[in-house]
């Protein structure tokens, strides 16, 4: 006899929970230990830098030549530099600068890059051609050189450094945004949406944005890491932050002359840069794995 009507058809044991893509990605990310470690380091550095005023109330330029060149130890955790300034203070305040430069330059790159990439992708043909050719020009010049050229053309200094690094990051965002937009534009479901008279805005939000969001997020983390490195290079060459502001790159530049006898002055700021950039890269990798596990190797 047919028992189907009498018994309840039990749905499969596996819970079919309704989760949004973002929620799933977030869960995957949190499970990734190395990514979370990276995140923890970044947050720690950010907090410590923010609290620099509390931890080192004397500021980053408190000179005392009698206390110069003290190696890291009990009295000064990270030692002192040639002018007796506490390295801990210099590094912590420097953290503020590096993180700020990273965030602002990345924002500039993202804003300009996303706009250009979207225009290129959405309008295609002539607009696309012009924009891509312009980006080609930037592509023909090595990033470092471009940043150096722009920054020194504008006279150096922290603001110009941010602009220079920001501009050199634009092609990355533009390319990353353009590709999915082009793909979606030529795909069938946009045609389908249009056929039911959806407006352009609706198409953009419902269909294009979700595909573009993941690559943008991933590029942002990558760009943050890259801009901190680029900014430190500029400062090292004397083109970025001006002394006495303690950007980590310029700390290394200053310490170069004392490298023979006081190598800790070179190692410490470099370790700071490496630690922050490494953490950002670890977090960024974890983010990429979480957002698109199919790519996971």
């Amino acid at each position: 006899m047919n028992n189907v009507d009498q018994k309840e058809v039990k749905i499969n044991r596996r819970e079919i929970r309704k989760r949004s893509m973002m929620q799933e990605s977030l869960e995957r990310l949190v499970r990734n230990k190395t990514a979370m470690a990276g995140f923890a380091v970044i947050v720690t550095v950010a907090i410590l830098s923010a609290l620099a005023g509390v931890i080192c109330p004397e500021g980053y330029d408190a000179q005392d030549v009698t206390k110069a060149f003290i190696r890291p130890g009990k009295e000064y955790i990270l030692g002192t530099d040639n002018l007796g300034r506490s390295m801990l203070a210099r590094v912590l305040y420097g953290g503020r600068i590096s993180l700020t430069i990273g965030i602002i330059s990345t924002s500039i790159s993202a804003a300009l890059g996303i706009i250009l990439g979207s225009l290129a992708g959405y309008y295609g043909n002539k607009v696309d051609n012009i924009i891509m050719r312009t980006l080609d020009v930037f592509h023909a010049i090595p990033n470092t050189l471009l940043a150096i050229a722009i920054s020194s053309a504008m006279g150096g200094g922290i603001v110009n450094a941010m602009i220079a690094v920001g501009i050199s990051g634009v092609p990355n965002f533009a390319k990353v945004v353009r590709a999915p937009i082009l793909a979606v534009k030529e795909s069938e479901f946009v045609e389908a949406a249009r056929s039911i008279d959806a407006t352009n805005a609706r198409i953009i939000f419902r269909h294009i944005l979700p595909n573009v969001l993941s690559p943008i997020i991933i590029t942002i983390t990558g760009q943050l890491a890259g801009s901190i490195l680029a900014a430190s290079s500029l400062s090292f060459l004397g083109l970025g932050v001006q002394p006495p502001m303690p950007e980590w790159g310029s700390l290394i530049a200053n310490a170069r002359q004392y490298i023979r006898d006081y190598s800790y002055l070179v190692s410490i700021p470099g370790l700071a840069i490496a630690a922050v950039v490494l953490s950002m890269n670890l977090f960024g990798d974890g983010l990429r794995d979480a957002l698109d596990p199919k790519l996971k190797n």
Binding site: N2, N3, V4, V9, K10, I11, N12, R13, R14
Partner: protein
């Protein structure tokens, strides 16, 4: 089950391939233990075509890969079983010996022709590769034989040096078939060979396979979810559900004297012009292989299920001669 099988063996020829109690799991950190194949046993005799029918995820492909040991060993793990070939257990064979068998005595046609071929090698060379591996010929001779093989599957030999991307899906599959049959294997494992192809091309490829099978007396393990193909090509059929064989018998047994409720469900979910009845889909979904229920794995979806079904593991039982069913309420007519 073992006892009855042995009795059957005495009556007929020695089996060419004998799979005994094969159990294969996939073990990963994220999902746990996925019990893909659970205690599967079957035989294929010389010249015979055995069909392996089941839904996606039932374990058919895993069985095929286990035979040729093509599984990715983490995360896959062959927990237990024997696969007897020519008196030896394939699962215990050395890697070197296994390589001699692959492509030569047992070969495989894969499901997705689009990705089965190396994109940067000319198709002719890919066929020549398997010939050169197993036959004692020069490279030039191997290429000649490969070109002949191309003609056999209906591709002009002038296209020897073309690359896979220059061929359509159906033609790529022909190349895959050419590779599989180039060394005249005794057993061909065909894993859903036509699933990825258009219906018209499907017919061509199946005809090709039938032809070659007949000419060379090749045994075939045909994996598919399409009952129509089974009817066309197979002498015997095994129905797989949740990693177990739930019904095993001749094509006639399966089609005309269906025993297992799942098999009945499969037939009922096919549209039928003749009977004019509506489609009756099988309610529910196949159980999660990482979380299999106790007792009969099909009980949840079965209209004949009783409490007894869920209590203990159901064994495979001979219901009519040569026809086995894993169900205590089997629906076939007694033989």
């Amino acid at each position: 089950m073992e006892l009855q099988k042995e009795q059957v063996l005495e009556k007929t020829d020695e089996a060419l391939l004998s799979v005994k109690n094969l159990t294969t799991y996939y073990i990963t950190r994220e999902i746990g233990t996925c019990k893909a194949v659970n205690d599967v046993s079957f035989e294929i005799k010389s010249g015979e075509t055995l069909g392996l029918v089941g839904e996606t995820g039932a374990g058919k492909t895993t069985i095929a890969y286990s035979i040729l040991r093509l599984l990715q060993m983490p995360p896959a793990k062959i927990i237990s079983g024997e696969i007897m070939w020519n008196g030896e257990d394939l699962l215990k064979m050395s890697a070197a010996k296994m390589r001699k068998i692959r492509g030569h005595e047992i070969s495989m046609v894969f499901q997705d022709p689009m990705t089965a071929l190396n994109p940067i090698d000319p198709v002719g060379d890919q066929i020549a590769e398997v010939i050169y591996l197993h036959k004692k010929v020069s490279r030039a001779e191997a290429k000649k034989l490969a070109a002949e093989m191309l003609e056999v599957v209906g591709i002009p030999k002038e296209r020897f040096y073309e690359y896979p991307h220059q061929f359509s899906g159906g033609m790529k599959q022909r190349v895959v078939i050419a590779i599989a049959l180039a060394c005249n294997p005794k057993l061909l494992i065909a894993d859903e060979p036509t699933t990825a192809l258009d219906v018209t091309i499907q017919a061509q490829v199946l005809e090709l396979m039938n032809d070659l099978k007949r000419k060379n007396g090749t045994s075939v393990l045909l994996i598919t979810h399409d009952l129509g193909i089974i009817a066309e090509m197979c002498e015997r059929v095994a129905v797989i559900y949740a990693g177990q064989i739930v019904e095993l018998g001749t094509a006639l047994d399966i089609f005309d004297n269906t025993a297992h409720p799942y098999t009945i469900g499969l037939f009922e979910s096919l549209p039928s012009v003749a009977s004019g009845r509506r489609l009756i889909p099988i309610p529910g979904m196949m159980p999660d292989p990482s979380n299999l229920p106790e007792g009969c794995k099909f009980a949840e979806r079965c209209r004949y299920a009783t409490d007894e079904c869920r209590k203990q593991e159901i064994e495979l039982v001979e219901v009519t001669p040569g026809h086995y069913c894993r169900c205590i309420h089997s629906r076939c007519k007694e033989g």
